[in-house]
């Protein structure tokens, strides 16, 4: 006997369904159902996952959705209804209806009425699920439509608009009055002349999932289980049941009808075809021709002296492949966006595998020169991959919004939307919510619950959709005919209900519009530099390449502020890697990451680079792949190529390996490839040791391996930012500070670093500072000084800064009252300036400044006479003593986060125990293994996931930074100090490798009480 489940919700009906779409599909298949309809409430968010699962196991999947429709004639009785999509056009209707309902409501909600149904639905199949009203027991006794008049009216209204596509669905779930309910519904169906069908109203795939169903109900209603009473379901029957069970419950005609309905549905998601917007191509040209034209023009710009032969061949090959796979529009779309950005002076750069494309380079989408790098186009686009290209473009983070609005304007809100990100339960939220549902006390809800079976089941469950960082989908037809669109939390943003995995699976293209702080910083820096040649600004392309001084600076580990290589780990690697050319930077970017570190690639590479270890290649094929990285696989492409040349993987298999690498932590797919890889290599005569090591390296790679092209794109920015730091340190620091928040370091650390490089830094001052940091010329011939901007003053906003600058342009400020009045400052804003010591000309020091500023205050009638004009009156004859050095230093930190006077450690060094502590610069004299006592301000705590629970801390003093290594045992012994202290005194052992010094902490003392109230922010990474 045939049966199809027509009403089934997954966990994409957030906190209502208790099973993943894949589980539902697998179970339906195992039960031998004819078909399964996935009908999440007003949503198609789970349909792609279900579709993929259904395809791989051979189950027929029907796309549908459940709705509660508002009936204006009976507002207290919404109409409960499932819509199914039998054809492509019906699917478009369904998606359009969902979009309509969601777009007019707040995020996460929808509003639809019967009228919307009538207006928008012509082809979908409807399964109406009427319920006799709650609290009316009389329906149990006799079934009469007159007792539920609203049902009759609603059924009549539905039939009027949708007869022939409308069924009355019956759910029998051992509710106790099943017989009488069935009779009542039967009578209703007869009265309305509607066919009946069985519908399970399924919420989970198997009975055993019931506890989780109750838990998600408890979470949704924010009430512990024990207090939910009858708001929980009475039993566990709403699961996918065996057909013989159904046969015992339902009349056979109803079961058969479900199969008949399913048979009418012939739509498969495979039919969805993606189409690009047409506007991009000029009249009379084909997309391919236009692409070729643009590429040629780009070639002339990039290589005015003529394009190298190798590159020409590559471009031809790429264009042919693009034409064959019909992706011309994609490239044109991205080109158009990038061209807009460039026209607005917004710096941008492609990243990721797209940087392997010469065509992208010609179009200006990426900046990696194919003439200079070895790129693997197949990594980006290939026949075998059977998936669309994925271009990610970084834009200046402060101006990304302009690009986003451009896309919305150009293509319209109907045709462009952001991809969704699915927010799922992670361990901490799962523990918290399950704990609350079970009614546990707050202190019992902790890591101990992580192993609870319900918590493990809840992990990975969807909670809600959120907007993806920047993934845009742009289509020719209205998006809503393809996938429903709903409102995001941010105003004026819309998202589609699918995430980027779904988009990839469905072959829809997206463009990632990403934000990168360093691009903003670089542009701002370039704007400060003289351009010459009659231009207004310098461009990145003007930076001279392969500058030895820049590489020398990097080799010293002097990289604060430089893109990607400024972190502790990177900085420690630079003096060992000693980059001398651009390619060394490409390697540096890719190698200092958890994957390669875990995969044991770093040390072999360093040894071979230092000449300490000879390099052997088993054969020429392997040499071809690994020679440029000294025999160590560092890039994803190398792994893929190796799998192909050394183990005989086909291009497609190699690509599967790459995907498995990218998600092996989640899926454990990698194991399957182990045997294939090792056997393949053995078969080709490689040694087992080599094969095993390679596989371990692949495992270590995991999701952290970089594609070479991506590393190359980043290396460009590393070089540019390093060159700017080396040759224009003041401008570079200024650009960085004006682009915060970004990067690894705080303003305090950046300022200290630039001062150590000989750049004078001037304090914030009402007479000289703008909102932004500025360069100020000092004496003739000297380099510029960096003037701290008003933005650094806590409690002082940009509007106030504007007013201040405008007022002072008219006339310098005479006194504090004049300042407040003409700059229209509030009392708090004035106090902020005084606290930052920015008013030194007007009030000699902070104490006096506050004393006088406070006197201005509100209009006080009693003192009005004194407020007029006479500035002497502001001090009332009182001259308070000036603050001491420590007080000033603390106030500097409190108001601007940094100080230009003596560093706190310099102040402390005059007294014990600090007088016996070494400074950061002193450590240079010590050899490995020597004892050292150091002290400093804690500026950084970092717990990298790789190494065994070790904690890295950075202590800052007046000469620089000390890198501390704190092993787990030490952390346990000095738990409080490690977690909480702001100043530490540490006794430990020096560890030294080349010029990189760490101190292994042995004994830690919290010395924060040296300054009471001292609270510099520490950046903590986990």
């Amino acid at each position: 006997m045939a049966y199809a489940e027509l009403c089934c919700r997954s966990n994409y009906s957030f906190l209502t369904g208790a099973s993943h779409p894949e589980e539902l599909v697998a179970r339906a298949r195992a039960l031998g159902y004819d078909a399964l309809a996935l009908t999440d409430e007003c949503s198609l968010a789970g349909i792609v996952k279900a579709h993929q699962a259904a395809k791989s196991c051979g189950l027929k999947l029907i796309a549908g959705s459940l709705f509660h429709l508002h009936d204006p004639d009976h507002p207290a009785h919404p109409v409960r209804l499932v819509l199914l999509a039998p054809t492509r056009s019906a699917y478009a209707e369904l998606s359009g209806l969902i979009t309509r309902g969601r777009r007019r409501s707040a995020k996460g909600e929808y509003r639809l009425s019967l009228r919307d149904l009538d207006r928008l639905v012509r082809e979908c199949l409807l399964v109406w699920l009427p319920e006799p009203p709650a609290g009316d027991p009389r329906l149990a006794a006799t079934a009469s439509a007159s007792l539920a008049p609203h049902l009759f009216a609603q059924g009549h209204a539905l039939a009027a608009g949708h007869r022939g596509r409308l069924w009355l669905g019956v759910t029998l779930a051992h509710g106790g009055n099943d017989t009488s309910r069935y009779l009542a519904l039967h009578e209703l169906a007869v009265a309305l002349d509607l066919p009946m069908t069985a519908a399970g109203d399924v919420l989970m795939h198997e009975r055993a999932r019931r506890p989780l169903l109750d838990v998600v109900t408890a979470i949704r209603l924010n009430t512990p289980l024990a207090q939910l009473g009858t708001r929980l379901t009475a039993n566990a029957e709403r699961h996918l049941r065996r057909i013989d069970t159904l046969r015992r419950l339902y009349p056979p005609a109803l079961l058969e009808e479900s199969a008949r309905i399913a048979a009418r549905c012939v739509f498969s998601l495979d039919e969805l075809r993606y189409e690009y917007p047409r506007e991009l191509v000029p009249e009379g040209m084909s997309a391919g021709d236009y692409l070729r034209t643009l590429t040629l023009a780009g070639m002339h710009t990039r290589w005015p002296q003529g394009t190298p032969e190798k590159v020409l061949r590559q471009i031809d090959a790429e264009l042919a492949l693009i034409a064959e796979l019909k992706y011309e529009y994609y490239f044109l779309t991205v080109h158009d966006i990038v061209a807009f950005a460039r026209a607005q002076g917004i710096l941008c750069q492609g990243r990721g595998s797209a940087a392997s494309s010469a065509v992208c380079y010609c179009l200006g989408i990426t900046e990696v020169d194919p003439a200079r790098c070895e790129l693997l186009f197949e990594r980006f686009l290939s026949r075998e991959r059977n998936e669309p290209p994925d271009i990610d473009v970084d834009f200046e983070h402060e101006r990304r919004e302009e690009v986003i609005q451009y896309i919305y304007r150009k293509y319209g809100r109907e045709h462009a939307a952001l991809a969704a990100t699915l927010i799922c339960y992670r361990p901490r939220s799962a523990v918290r919510d399950v704990g609350k549902a079970l009614g546990l006390a707050p202190e019992e809800i902790g890591d101990g619950l992580r192993e609870h079976p319900l918590v493990r089941e809840l992990l990975g469950f969807p909670r809600h959709l959120s907007q993806h960082v920047g993934g845009f989908v742009i289509t020719r037809a209205p998006l809503s005919t393809l996938v429903p669109v709903e409102n995001a939390a941010m105003a004026d943003r819309t998202i589609i209900q699918w995430d980027k995995d779904d988009l990839e699976a469905m072959g829809l293209l997206k463009v990632d519009i990403l934000a990168l702080g360093m691009l903003t910083a670089i542009r701002k820096t370039l704007a400060l530099l003289p351009a010459g040649d009659g231009r207004t600004t310098l461009a990145m392309a003007d930076i001279p390449p392969e500058d030895p001084a820049t590489y020398a600076m990097l080799s010293r580990g002097d990289s604060v502020g430089v893109f990607q290589v400024e972190s502790r780990a990177q900085m420690a690697m630079l003096p060992r890697l000693r980059p001398r050319t651009f390619y060394d930077l490409v390697v540096q970017v890719a190698i200092v990451r958890p994957g390669p570190i875990q995969g044991d690639m770093v040390h072999p590479y360093l040894r071979r680079r230092a000449g300490e270890e000879p390099v052997h290649y088993p054969d020429d094929a392997v040499r071809g792949v690994l020679e440029r990285t000294l025999g160590v696989p560092i890039f994803q492409e190398q792994v893929i190529k190796l799998a192909m040349v050394a183990a005989g993987f086909s291009g497609g298999e190699a690509d599967q390996l790459r995907r498995a690498m990218a998600s092996w932590r989640k899926s454990g797919e990698l194991e399957k490839f182990r045997a294939k890889l090792i056997d393949g290599m053995l078969a080709r005569g490689h040694e087992r040791a080599f094969a095993e090591r390679l596989f371990r390296q692949i495992e270590g790679f995991g999701e952290y391996g970089f594609p070479e092209s991506h590393a190359a794109s980043f290396a460009l920015l590393v070089y540019v930012s390093a060159w700017l730091k080396c040759h224009q340190p003041a401008a570079f620091c200024c650009g960085l500070l004006n682009s915060l928040p970004m990067g690894f370091y705080s303003p305090s650390q950046l300022v200290q670093d630039v001062r150590r490089h000989g750049v004078p830094v001037l304090p914030v001052d009402i007479d000289h500072s703008e909102w932004d940091y500025q360069l100020e010329a000092l004496a003739k011939g000297d380099g510029p000084a960096l003037r701290i901007g008003l933005r650094q003053v806590a409690g002082f906003g940009e509007d106030a800064a504007r007013r201040l600058v405008a007022a002072r342009a008219q006339q310098p400020f005479a006194n504090l009252q004049d300042l407040k009045a003409r700059a229209q400052l509030t009392q708090a804003q004035l106090a902020a300036l005084v606290a930052a010591n920015a008013v030194q000309r007007l009030a000699s020091h902070r104490h006096q400044g506050h004393w006088e500023a406070r006197a201005i205050g509100q209009e006080m009638p009693l003192y009005a006479a004194q407020q007029r004009g006479d500035s002497d009156a502001l001090h009332d004859g009182i001259h308070l003593p000036a603050p001491g050095e420590t007080t000033d230093m603390l106030a500097d930190y409190a108001s601007t986060g940094l100080t230009l006077n003596r560093h706190p450690m310099a102040i402390l060094r005059e007294r014990p125990p600090f007088d016996r502590c070494l400074r950061a610069s002193d450590l240079q004299r010590l050899a490995s293994g020597r004892f050292a006592r150091v002290a400093g301000v804690v500026t950084n705590r970092q717990r990298p996931g790789t190494a065994s629970g070790v904690l890295f801390m950075t202590l800052e003093d007046e000469t620089g930074n000390v890198n501390l290594v704190v092993w787990e045992a030490t952390q346990a012994r000095y738990h409080r100090a490690v977690l909480d202290a702001r100043i530490l005194v540490v006794k430990g052992t020096v560890e030294r490798k080349d010029s990189v010094i760490h101190v292994i902490a042995g004994h830690i003392t919290d010395a924060s009480s040296a300054f009471s109230g001292f609270d510099p922010a520490s950046r903590d990474f986990h």
């Binding site: 709650a134 609290g135 009316d136 027991p137 149990a140 779930a173 051992h174 509710g175 106790g176 009055n177 017989t179 009488s180 019931r210 506890p211 109750d214 289980l225 024990a226 009473g229 009858t230 708001r231 929980l232 009475a234 039993n235 566990a236 029957e237 079970l438 006390a441 707050p442 202190e443 902790g446 106090a831 005084v834 606290a835 902070r846 104490h847 506050h850 004393w851 406070r854 006197a855 205050g857 006080m860 003192y863 004194q866 009332d876 004859g877 009182i878 308070l880 003593p881 000036a882 603050p883 007080t887 106030a891 346990a972 738990h975 409080r976 977690l979 909480d980």
Partner: protein
Amino acid sequence: MTVALAGALCAGNGATLRLRERDAAAEASLLNRLAQDLLQVTPQVSIDGDDALLLEIGGCLRLFRGLDALLSRVTALCTAQDVTATLALAHTPGAARLFAVHALDTRPLYDDAGHADIPGLRQALAALPVQGLELDPRTEESVMQMGLTTFADIEALPRQALGRRFGKTFTQWLDRLTGVAPDPRMAIAPETFFVRELNFLDGIVHADGLLFPMQRLLGEFSRFLRHRQLATQHLVWRITHSDGSTQEIAINTARPELSPARLLALSRIRLEGVQLPAPAETLRLACRQFIPLADSDAVTNLFGAAGNEDNRDDGIAALIDRLRARLGDRHCRQLAYHDGWRPEAAQRVVSAGAGTAVHPALPPLLPSHLARRPLWLLREPLRVLRQGERLHWRGTLTLLDGPERIDADWWSTPLARDYFVASHDDGVLYWVYHDLLQDDWYVHGVFG
């Protein structure tokens, strides 16, 4: 310190962190009780904030014969309430509070007769740090930003200049703190209570003889209540017999009462069960728990005539009161609905008239499944024998309708039953279930 940090530290030390919510109501109540008790020491007791009491003791020293005696009495009263208190003496209420907060012992600055060393006190005040003056945070920050660190620094500045910067409130505070201006505090009022006694020279031999005196006392009581616009739900009669023994009769009502007629009726009922072991010499009426009339929904009939019970609620309340009075509180119960799938747990027995709710607790709209429930549930389900397809229980049971599957409480005592309506040979309809966990059959209820 954040909870997270505390948790991390505990975890690191292998300790367990317990979180408790602060009970502001309990704290306030304790403070009030203590304040009431301290009225024994001085009539000028005022509550200061949520953590302190101010006692003006200048006028009481003679009574206590010296400062030390008074202070130890205060300490004793605190200990009796299980409170650890810090005491401090000063010349102004504000200074006294600050000294107590800082645990400054200023006793040495006074002699036993209560004469103060004013310069010494001024000095102690001057030494207090600015952060310890309990200024509002913005003022405190501002003061500290000027480099002023102690109260002395503030005092040193011209008053007018301070007023210009911090306003009149600040200078007035200053004046009150230093004693330049008075700082009168509102003393608490002693708690209301009513206690009246009547003595009987000849002794009353029969219990009903107490009715008339009761009526008299209730009349006075009612006037007391009306004057203060109060009502009560609890009063106590105490009878003292000629042999020295006493007995107490407690009267509790479902709703706040002030009508002498109703209270008398209840007292009369209670009196019926009272035996006098010896003639009654004294009758006392005491009441300490009051409810303001504005807060209660006691019936306030302006014209006070008895028997105007037109409110149905009121009638039920009165009935419950009388039943409780006659039968005893423990014997009057009512049913309340408890929401849940387990049929035997769907009802609870609660004390009649519990709280101020008179009606049994019913949700406005009954869940529909209740309609299918039998009227009677057996206290214990009875085993049914199953032979093949037939069910035997004092005859044969035939299943009619069902099953209604109830599968609940998996997190505590799991319950999995298929319920059926079954008809018995004798025509009665029973509610029968199949226990799915044990594969047994039971009769659970009867319809009709």
